[in-house]
């Protein structure tokens, strides 16, 4: 039932509650005055009763209203914070994405540069060395995080 209050605009609830409370206060004063005036004193008594009821209800609603408004303010603050946080999160992601892309590009550039140098020196590098089968197996075992067998009986057991 109370959640329905959230659909009513702040200004309307504010006016409604203040009016009830105000009418209660004014009614008490008027009632007190009228109850002393001859001929209308019986109305003054009635006004006093109604005004007292309105005053009590108004006071209760004023308390409830302040609580409701305080909560609404908190919710609005939190929503604002969340919006800012979401924006910050997006900006951070964009920065990270850019940084990763730059790093990966640099790494690929370096790999390509090294590949070119290796290609240029292919003949010189290969002139005095050729890999044995055992070396090949051990190298692949290491790169695949698998244990190659002994040098005399090499068996790569990688996945």
């Amino acid at each position: 039932m109370w959640f329905l209050l959230s659909f009513i605009p702040d200004w309307f609830i504010n006016y409604f509650v203040h009016i009830i409370f105000g009418v209660g206060v004014v009614g008490i004063i008027v009632g007190a005055f009228l109850s002393k005036v001859p001929f209308v004193s019986q109305y003054g008594f009635l006004i006093k009763i109604v005004s007292n009821i309105l005053f009590v209800v108004g006071l209760f609603l004023e308390g409830g209203l302040q609580t409701e408004l305080a909560w609404r303010e908190k919710v609005a603050d939190l929503q604002k914070k969340i919006e800012i946080a979401q924006q910050q999160s997006k900006e951070t992601n964009a920065k990270i994405e850019q940084k990763v892309a730059e790093k990966v590009k640099n790494i690929k550039d370096n790999v390509n540069a090294n590949r070119q140098i290796i290609e240029e020196n292919r003949v010189v590098i290969n002139a005095e060395c050729k890999l044995s089968d055992t070396a090949w197996l051990l190298y692949n075992g290491a790169s695949q995080n698998a244990v190659a067998g002994s040098a005399s009986r090499p068996t790569a057991t990688g996945k």
Partner: protein, 66 residues
Amino acid sequence: MPWPEVPADLLQPANNLKPLPEDKKTLTDLIENANENFGTYYQIKSKYEAWQEWYNSQKKVYESVK
């Protein structure tokens, strides 16, 4: 607060290191293969560091909301 997005690059699976093909047994083949694998390693390292940065920065953002 909704779960923060992760940059798409960081969700890509990591590449495996490449073995040396059976018909490639010269020293340059090995160096080329190592060169490529080192490149793969550094790419994965940069993404790993990016994950750490992502976690720390998102944590800071999350804590600023409390």
